[in-house]
């Protein structure tokens, strides 16, 4: 059983909602990236989404755009990200790590090369924002190497297509809570609840909901019907500018602890 599957199985047994924080790899301080990952786990993360910086993040709002720009300005690339995961794995063998990003860095790195390096580093899955199901044949080497391909579903996804996505979902299905970019405004919990219920009826994989979840209140609202919540922009924004490891750890704890508590109170 993969680390992702094992983690969701354990959450189900415990009756808990998963907490999936997203951070941009290399931000706010590349030298403390591994410390940041451990801090996320210590503050209650069940799975880590690590953003691979890309120069042209079309699906991201300004917060994650700027985090990517800062990381790229510091020279962060795929090789660093894989190196940090490998270092993280030396002390944490159980928390799943999913790399999230865009296709071009993988295309240029080479899919087969990326697949073997990622598995060796201890990456569990990848979520490629600009690689819909129709284009995912290029990702065959990733699956062959044992990486799980996390699919996205959106409010605009038509029913027939949703059935296909549910069918092919691995690890978990990531439901994008609204049509928009990361970090944007408000959630309509009732609309999301209905869609997620439909997805859970057809997908074997658990469903994580992301985009627009900013705090304990919104996380708790989503937790009523989702298997996990993803929190990205609000966390990245909170971390921006933190230069020291202890400051990063403190900010992570300050941000995630109330969310963890709210989820567990559910």
């Amino acid at each position: 059983m993969s680390r992702i599957d094992a983690r969701f199985a354990a959450l189900k047994v415990a009756g808990r909602t998963g907490l999936i924080p997203f951070v941009t790899a290399g931000d706010p301080a590349p030298e403390h990236s591994v410390a940041l990952m451990h801090a996320l786990v210590a503050a209650g993360a069940d799975l880590i989404e690590l953003g691979v910086p890309f120069s042209d993040p079309m699906a991201d709002g300004p917060v994650i755009q700027h985090a990517s720009e800062r990381a790229i300005a510091r020279g962060v690339g795929l090789a660093h990200v894989l190196g940090w995961v490998a270092e993280f794995r030396q002390r944490d063998a159980v928390t799943p790590v999913v790399l999230m990003g865009y296709l071009n860095p993988l295309e240029i790195h080479g899919y087969a090369r990326f697949a073997s390096e990622a598995v060796a580093a201890g990456v569990d899955g990848v979520l490629l924002v600009d690689c819909p199901l129709e284009e995912s044949s290029v990702l065959a080497p990733l699956r062959a190497a044992g990486l799980q391909l996390i699919r996205l579903a959106a409010p605009t996804t038509a029913p027939a297509r949703m059935a296909q996505l549910c069918q092919s979902a691995e690890g978990f299905l990531y439901y994008v809570s609204f049509a928009g970019i990361t970090g944007a405004a408000h959630l309509s919990t009732t609309d999301i609840a209905a869609r997620v219920a439909d997805i859970r009826a057809c997908a074997k994989a658990p469903v994580a909901v992301g985009f627009g979840i900013r705090d304990a209140h919104s996380a708790k609202a989503i937790a009523a019907f989702a298997d996990a919540v993803v929190i990205g922009s609000a966390l990245v924004e909170r971390l921006a500018g933190a230069g020291q490891a202890d400051e990063i750890t403190a900010r992570v704890r300050g941000f995630l602890a109330p969310i963890r508590a709210a989820l567990d109170a559910h």
Partner: protein
């Protein structure tokens, strides 16, 4: 007796270059739909609407009417006799897209897409722009059809194309400065995509070049292909034969594919795209994705891109904002790999020299983008005998560039 070996398909078998893209929006290995899940439904909706409209005689008649009475088509082919004599080779012929309404080929596409938008019932259009020509052409058709128009433009480009920014505002469009990334065309495209993903219900995105996800590369090509259709017929009528070579500048590649497409299945016609070599291909400061880039994924399609070894898209340089783009339309990538078209670099200096030569010898101020094509046409003409014919797409007029040229040459206007 053993069976005779199975022979491979002879490589000389003529390929139908008009058969692309395939049903998945691919031109061989290039093209496709590399977008966020949220956009898959609106792209499917657009592809279905366009597929219906492109076969609808009423839509085609509507488009032809607009091209004739609003854009001012057909544009003539002009024999640049004095320029040809100065170059001292083949005859240089100019397809005068600069004479279109709004001063460039861009209007061919926006007229078409705006009609599609109206048929789809979308009241709001958005566009990205580099030099501002596509922004102006979008604002123009939006004004005419009474649609709300928002144009995204890199803040660097806003600075160097002030006249076009003001033109868009006069036409009632809102111009939104984009300050992320390199603050140029690629970033404007990212921001327009973000707007579209957020406002898919009521918004039609008019992409200005033959890039983006399917069906855009096909649709934008189809709307610009009127250039090549006219030109091929005009060549046969005025010169009794097809040209020996055709050339156009390539940024995203819409004016080039517009000219090239009708000639793709004419093997006797040499096809050359002129990319922006900026300070020279060796300098690293250029925008020649095909001549100096590699296959990658950008803005929804697989194509040649300029990027570093981490896959980060490069910041490009060209004297012309309209060519300052690190990707290129996927059909051009396909034509390059298929060997049907050549793509070469033309430097800032060569383009400037061509600009001045054309202005002084023919009384035509070409856009800096188009000046790259003129420079390439001059090179091709030198290689051919005096009775040879080189057809160059003069894709836009240079009025918008007067301030840039003056600044470059240290002149205060």
């Amino acid at each position: 007796m053993s069976a005779p070996p199975i022979r491979p398909i002879p490589s000389s078998t003529p390929q139908d270059f008009h058969a692309w893209p395939d049903a998945h929006g691919r031109f061989g290995d290039f093209g496709g739909q590399y977008v966020a899940e949220t956009l898959m439904a609106p792209l499917a909706e657009l592809a279905a609407a366009y597929e219906r409209l492109r076969r609808d005689p009423a839509f085609i008649a509507e488009l032809d009417h607009d091209l004739k009475y609003y854009v001012g088509r057909p544009s003539p082919i002009y024999h640049a006799q004095r320029l040809s004599a100065l170059v001292g080779g083949a005859r240089i012929l100019l397809k005068r897209e600069d004479l279109n309404h709004t001063g460039a080929h861009k209007i061919n596409n926006t007229v078409g897409q705006a009609l599609v938008a109206r048929h789809m019932g979308k009241p709001r259009i958005i566009a990205e722009t580099g030099a501002g020509q596509h922004g102006v052409a979008s604002a123009t058709v939006a004004a005419r059809l009474g649609l709300k128009c928002v144009v995204y433009m890199g803040s660097t480009d806003i600075e160097r194309q002030k006249i076009n920014v003001y033109r868009m505002k006069l036409l009632g469009a809102e111009v939104v400065p984009v300050t992320s990334g390199s603050k140029t065309l690629k970033d404007a495209l990212n921001e327009a995509m973000r707007d579209w993903v957020t406002n898919v219900a009521d918004t039609f995105y008019i992409i200005g070049t033959v890039a983006g996800p399917h069906p855009y590369p096909m649709m934008v090509r189809d709307f610009n292909a009127v250039v090549g259709r006219e030109a091929r017929a005009q060549m046969l009528e005025d010169y009794g034969r097809l040209p020996d070579a055709i050339t156009a500048c390539v940024g995203g590649g819409s004016n080039a594919i517009g000219l090239f497409h009708e000639f793709l299945n004419d093997p006797g016609v040499r096809i050359v795209g002129a990319e922006a070599a900026g300070h020279g291909l060796a300098s690293g400061q250029h925008a020649a994705s095909l001549a100096a880039g590699r296959p990658g994924v950008l803005h929804g399609n697989r194509t040649y891109v300029l990027c570093d070894d981490n896959g980060q898209i490069a910041e490009t340089h060209s004297v012309s904002a309209g060519l300052d783009y690190p990707g290129v339309g996927p059909e051009h990538a396909f034509l390059k790999d298929a060997g049907r078209a050549e793509y070469v670099g033309v430097t800032d200096d060569e383009a400037m020299e061509a600009f001045h030569l054309l202005a002084r010898s023919e009384g035509i101020l070409a856009a800096l983008e188009s000046s790259h094509a003129v420079a390439q046409a001059m090179k091709l003409a030198r290689e051919l005998p005096k009775d040879g014919l080189v057809l160059c797409n003069l894709s836009g007029r240079g009025d918008k560039d007067v301030h840039t040229i003056a600044a470059r040459e240290g002149v205060t206007v």
